[in-house]
Symmetry: C2
Subunit: 273 residues, 2 copies
């Protein structure tokens, strides 16, 4: 079997940086190291970290001592306030690109704009940004018109561009001033483009990454549109041999939080079909 | 024949204001009164004003004395500089909404944005705005992508909304920050909506106004899409009797610079068919 991979694959910049920070803290810390939610949306990586004493917690307010790691998606304002007030040690592994979304959003609010965040209202990144606006913002998941004077727009870093354009374009006609920060991160844009290009050259695509990873799931949807014969797998264990009948070339791509190791194992397995 | 008119018809706010200012000056002035280009794009009105001693000139730099009227569309920066340097009396009848386009554009330039003006590059309003940017701006007449960091957008006051949205939406994906001032004037928006609504209720539409009037021509195009049986006429003299065969209801609308008087004459003529 011929296997082709997208050029940019494995952890993105923000995830690589966060994992490095957590591992360093885990090796040095004498007390517990907590992450607010799983550090990244990849169950395999979360398991590896748990073995090193890094424990994901959902309820920050139960932590009384130790180190708290802010994951790539960022933290909610009330959570940060509690952690600071309690005097816990902080390792801020929020992706700098995610922080930029928050900064733009807060600036827009300060300047009197009605702030729109385009993204998934249940995604921790969006929840984080909204919390720093004291919930004074509108989350748009799909096209909708707004009848406001000044509207400022930011978006989830892992949003796909078509969704962004489709939602923004509905806002143009209805407002007097529309100020848009395209906060889709470079990595998301580059990887999406590479995945689409690769899809056209192969008989089947495999998108590797956590089923709960927002950007992997979106990547799968985008790739699936171009190449209907596409599967979303978490690990090599999800691969089914009957997928490979009459298939000569397979393309592999992954999410921002998919470890190189998992990609390598998948690649090796596919080559043997 | 049943005749229906759009509610808002005749001179718009800016044109009414400009004509009033010119007439007042013509009555009081002892010297010549010049307008830079025709005061409005309506030949009938320009003739009436000429009888009162108001002369349109194309080349401002030939004026050595008297009063210069800045028309609704505004003036070019170099023209204003010459007029001020020469010490001519100025009556600034630039429409306040047009001035707002210029002010937003100059602010965007000052703030480091690449300025995009959406509109007709040959229209005096667009030429005026561009001149105040020292020609450091991009005029877009149709959809085009731009690969810039910060882009600021304004548009011609008489642009139709669909054109505006279609051009802006092409810019969304390619820039990091996009700041859009929707400078289409209220009057243009309201009148366009009224014209479209009326088109659906009649057998034929007449759009009355100067053939060189940008906003009348655009209104005609928009109305023609909804009601294919639409004619653009300058005066009642352009009306052809054979248009009215099997027609029971006629809708009348006009441009921002079409005098009430012309509308009235057209209405009377049509009623008699």
């Amino acid at each position: 079997m011929k296997v082709l991979k997208t050029k940019n694959i494995g952890f993105c910049f923000g995830v690589k940086r966060a994992v490095k920070m957590v591992l360093k803290e885990a090796a040095a810390a004498k007390d517990m190291v907590y992450t607010v939610g799983p550090i990244i949306h990849n169950p395999q990586m979360v398991n590896i970290l748990e073995e090193k004493g890094v424990v994901p917690v959902n309820d920050v307010f139960q932590i009384k001592s130790g180190t708290v790691v802010f994951r790539t998606h960022g933290i909610r304002k009330d959570e940060e306030e509690y952690i600071k007030k309690t005097g816990l040690k902080i390792i801020d592994a929020t992706c700098p690109f995610v922080k930029r979304v928050r900064q733009h959003a807060m600036y827009l609010k300060k300047m009197g704009y009605t702030v729109v965040i385009i993204g998934d209202k249940n995604h921790p990144e969006v929840k984080s940004v909204l919390s720093y606006l004291d919930n004074d913002g509108i989350v748009l998941q799909g096209p909708a018109g707004l009848d406001k004077e000044k509207v400022g727009v930011v978006c989830q870093t892992t949003l796909d561009k078509d969704t962004f354009v489709n939602i923004v374009k509905e806002l143009i006609g209805g407002v007097e001033e529309l100020r848009i920060y395209n906060t889709i991160c470079e990595s998301t844009q580059v990887r999406q483009k590479e995945a689409i290009t690769l899809s056209g050259k192969v008989d089947m695509m495999l998108v590797v990454g956590g089923k709960s990873s927002s950007n992997t799931t979106k990547r799968y949807k985008v790739v699936h549109k171009v190449q209907p014969n596409t599967h979303h797998i978490e690990t090599e264990n999800n691969i089914k041999p009957d997928w490979f009948k009459e298939i000569h070339t397979v393309g592999i791509t992954g999410g921002a939080s998919t470890p190189d190791l998992i990609i390598d194992v998948v690649e090796r397995r596919v080559k043997n079909f």
